[in-house]
Amino acid sequence: MCTLEKRGQLFLLKLAGDGEHRLNPTLLDSITSAITQIRSDPSSSQSVLITTSDGKFFSNGYDLALADSDPSLRVVMDSKLRSLVADLISLPMPTIAAVTGHASAAGFVLAMSHDYVLMRRDRGFLYMSELDIELVIPPWFAAMIRMKIGSPAARRDVMLTAEKVTAERGLEMGIVDSSYGSAAETVEGAVKLGEELVRRGVDGHVYGGMREALLKQVLHTIGSNESVSNRMRNSGSKL
């Protein structure tokens, strides 16, 4: 599901295997448990997290097919992702998403939940797919987008045209921090950046607190009940 490796002071969390890494309850639990492990490591406040994936996808979003078979799981997946993102926002260390494949909808949000987004430019895109698949965008997703994408026109392009954002466009929009020629180079870039951040020697607890303060509005929307009840009204899909 997901693997966790430690390289020096770098934690490498990988969404493993060749599939779409759909954020179903099992994968979300697996990632959450990896984050818990990271937190409990004694040197965590001098570390850096890098999140990446195998294969063609970073993550293709929630497991919608699963939600169709059991609509109650829609709420479960959303609730687990909210917890996970809140966890990432308070994590006492810098976080880097090494996006080596497509990141759609909830997968895009997961990538954006990291402090740095590094992406391959030879393939793959970031994609808020909801408009194309006739889903509304949860208010907390919109709050993350408002936080991480500065230009109103870029937000409109992402949410209201469901643009398939390449690394190049991502750089223009300020969603992506740097781009690389291949998946391997992206991870390498993340490792280099991670090592540089470790060298700066920032106290992770201070860092995590700062990040929470910066993303206060996003945390507030994640925690809000209104968002939960809006989504509960989503009925089943026609296949």
């Binding site: 919608l64 909801e130 194309d132 509304v136 109103p152 949410m159 989503n234 026609k238």
Partner: protein, 240 residues
């Protein structure tokens, strides 16, 4: 004063006549009614383009009508009436179940600029026409929803200052640089309209579901929607 035509997928809302297209209460009511019509006839692939005839897109509220009331109190009341009745026009555009494009044939000032900014995309002329928030020059205060619109649609602190506080008449090229409009590439009103039709056709081809589109649009602007009393709830069934 205002017409609605349908050309294939495109609804064309035109502020007619070679005048300033000032928003008198009658004009506001007409625009609101025509937007209601477009909404009721909306289909997947519908798109709205709003444009005008002549030198002005719109020069804002009908201040002459306000002043002709004969008293200071009367003028204030009439102005208040226009400010309040224009709010539903902005709300209707934010709620419209189709992409919206403003094709600025000419000057857009004050409430006229607000009308333009209420659209998803704004195209203006390169050669003529300015954007102008006149309030600071004529000593009018700003309605809350105008300020929220500026905050929602204009991203940088410098750009907001230029628009709101400087009383500057902003021409096409600068408007693009400031991120206020999407394009100012054409040297005629016809050129702008043609370009917006091109964009409209691209958007129409996506055949998006209108109520989903409107819901996602509203979730882009929560502060503005709150001030306008717009809710973003919808029942949505995803297609896989």
């Amino acid at each position: 004063m205002c017409t609605l035509e349908k050309r294939g997928n495109i609804f064309l809302l035109t502020l007619t006549g070679d005048n300033e297209h000032r928003f008198h209460p009658d004009a506001i009511a007409t625009i609101l009614s025509l937007l209601g019509q477009a909404k009721s006839q909306a289909n997947r692939g519908s798109v709205l383009i709003t444009t005008g005839h002549g030198k002005f897109f719109s020069n804002g509220f009908d201040l002459a009508w306000a002043q002709s009331s004969g008293s200071l109190a009367g003028a204030a009341e009439r102005l208040h009436q226009m400010v309040e009745s224009f709010k539903p026009v902005v709300a209707a555009l934010l709620d419209l179940p189709m992409p919206t494009i403003a094709a600025l044939n000419g000057h857009a000032a004050a409430a006229g600029l607000m009308l333009a900014l209420s659209h998803d995309y704004v195209y203006m002329r390169r050669d003529r026409g300015v954007l102008y928030m006149s309030e600071v020059d004529i000593g009018l205060s700003m309605p809350d929803y105008f300020a929220a619109m500026i905050r929602s649609k204009i991203g940088t602190s410098a750009a907001r200052r230029e628009v709101l506080l400087s009383g500057k008449k902003i021409r096409g090229e600068e408007a693009v640089a400031l991120g206020i409009v999407d394009s100012a590439a054409h040297d005629s009103a016809e050129g702008v309209v043609e370009a917006t039709v091109g964009l409209a056709e691209k958007l129409a081809a996506k055949k998006w579901k209108g109520d989903v589109y409107a819901s996602i649009r509203k979730s882009l602007y929560p502060e503005l929607c709150e001030i306008l009393g717009l809710k973003a709830t919808i029942f949505a069934t995803p297609k896989l």
